[in-house]
């Protein structure tokens, strides 16, 4: 173990520079969040991930955010274990009928102010699962969505861009 640790001391870090926040997302968010309340949370967000029925592809890329290349926590973004500790719900999947109530309850358990970020094409409108007897549809069919990050699944870079846009627009516009 010592060998490996020493090697890491002299090796340059693998972590990459931060991607720029997506301008279109920023503008969109600034507009939406401007109308919201004024209490500031500072430049950090606690995120609770909720899989509302995804194929687990989105979860793999959300997991990747924590690896040394993307190192999510340096942006003040961190995943928490309980919705009661969260500012943001990161919701994936078409919302299945079997998960609808769990998603609603999680949303209600999250204290205000809160944001919902829908992740992946399924989370927009159900994606390829739209129209199934077992699927409600996109996340916005169940809880209000503030930001949607597209992709099947979105790459960690796209996720990071979206989340950074959320942090920045929030500190510009003031959170709700």
């Amino acid at each position: 173990m010592r060998k490996l640790l020493f090697k890491n001391l002299i090796q340059r870090p693998l972590t990459e520079p931060r991607p720029p926040a997506d301008d279109a997302l920023l503008a969109d968010l600034a507009e939406r969040l401007a109308t919201s309340s004024r209490r500031a949370l500072g430049r950090s967000l606690s995120i609770r991930e909720v899989d509302a029925g995804s194929c687990n592809g989105c979860e793999l890329e959300i997991h990747a955010l924590a690896n040394v290349y993307y190192d999510l926590e340096r942006f003040g973004l961190r995943f928490v274990a309980s919705p009661r500790h969260a500012d943001v719900l990161l919701v994936t999947g078409p919302v299945t009928k079997n998960m609808r109530e769990a998603l609603e309850r999680t949303w209600h358990a999250t204290p205000d102010p809160k944001w919902v970020v829908a992740v992946g094409d399924c989370a927009l409108d159900g994606g390829p699962f739209a129209g199934s007897y077992a699927v409600v549809g996109g996340v916005s069919a169940v809880v209000p969505v503030d930001l949607h990050i597209r992709g099947c699944p979105p790459s960690p870079k796209a996720l990071l861009e979206g989340l950074i846009a959320l942090v920045e627009s929030k500190s510009v516009a003031g959170p709700r």
Binding site: M1, K3, L4, L5, L14, E49, V50, D51, A52, G53, S54, C55, N56, G57, C58, E59, L60, E61, I62, H63, A64, A66, N67, V68, Y69, F79, A81, S82, P83, G93, P94, T96, K97, N98, M99, R100, E101, A102, L103, T106, P128, F129, G131, S132, Y133, A134, V135, C152, P153, S155
Partner: protein, 506 residues
Amino acid sequence: MSLQSELLESGTPAPQRPWPRAVVTKDAWRRCIRELAAGNATLLGYWSDGEAVHMALIEPEAAEPQPFTPFVVSLPCPDGRYPSVAGAHPPALRLERAIHDLHGLTPVGLPDARPWLDHGRWGRHPLGARQEAPADGLGYTFLPVEGPPMHEIAVGPVHAGIIEPGHFRFTASGETVVRLEQRLGFTHKGTESLMAGATVERAARLAGRVSGDSTVAYALAFAMAVESATGLEAPPRAVWLRAVMAELERLANHLGDIGAICNDAAFALLHAHCGALRERVLRAAAVSFGHRLMMDRVVPGGVACDLDDGGAAAISSLIADMRRHFPELVELYENTTSLQDRTVTTGTLDPGLARRYGAGGYVGRATGRTFDARRWPGYPPYPELAFEVPVRSEGDVDARVWIRIHEVYQSLALLEQCLARLPRGRVLSGKIVAGPGEGVSLVEGFRGDILAWVRVAGDGAIARCHLRDPSWFQWPLLEAVVEGNIVADFPLINKSFNCSYSGHDL
């Protein structure tokens, strides 16, 4: 005479490729149940098309070479009833409950009649004679527990980590788990109903989204089943490229799992290093095939994109990188006693149980089963490649980690062979999918063997499709191995199984 030839001779042959299928009588069905219960056959898959129930069976992994192919027996259920397999053979239990939920066919003698995938949210029997029903949810009675001093811990469906939804009900005596009961079905998306009547292209996209971590394996299983059903043939280069993608997928998942298991034992260093290696695999996949998880790249008739020189170079440098760094991590795993203390003798699976359930993947191979679908029944190009199927007998978390470690090396060797011998030519067959026909396939995903069965209609659309995730036969074993362990070891044991929720829930 083998069980297979007896059963097939007594029944009416049905058109299915490449494994034989026979429509059998109730007596022959009961014979199958007896053979399963006696351990003379292993249940490989169990599904319904609404009119009949079908069982895919293999005779046990006896001495190599395996003399028998898998085969399928079908029992028509004109009155909506059939003799329950689960009554005598528990591995069929959840599958039978699911068949009842979806199709409304009643297994007579089913020992546990609680709904499984149906949570009372979408009407009854959506794939059969659909009945409207109140959608406000069904209550679910967990198995009773008696005797003090016990307490229950309810976990999920929304878990504390970034994982899929499912419910675990623990009954514990102090720190020791007395029983774990799972309740799954939360991610049920009605994939089979969406596939019925879909075009082959749309169905292939759905197949690739049954379990995102196994998207290549699922797309491959589906493509091979469609190709068997319709006589479509993938060009040789495509066959080899499929193996490249499949091994990259296995590599990425095994690295993710090894790291995550260590992380659940609070050893973050290995998690960080394995995470970096996994990221490099995904980046190489993106360079080579245009998508980090290689979704929608394997299609019936071949593959959707070719590998250029830049892509091949990216994979070669990945292999070199892995060969340099991975052994250091293995050494670290092996020499960290505090980590070994958590993984060795934790969550030990009984070999008899693994055999009975036909547990695939690292769950089976860490417990003495030699089954690997790439080796047997085998599919191209694997019979032409040199690789070993690592097997251990301990059956604990440590053994499941070691199987993954060995398989990482095997996958690297397979990738090297594939790149060196990649044939030239086109990658997609020009032939149009035409039916009718029935095909079945078995593909080794990173988690275990995935079974795909497909019936293609005369117009080339998918009439029915069933995809069986390896998790169906692994989830129940997780319940068994947790017993007697402490609650704090559950995350570790669970991660060492890493069953798919979405793949199971469909």
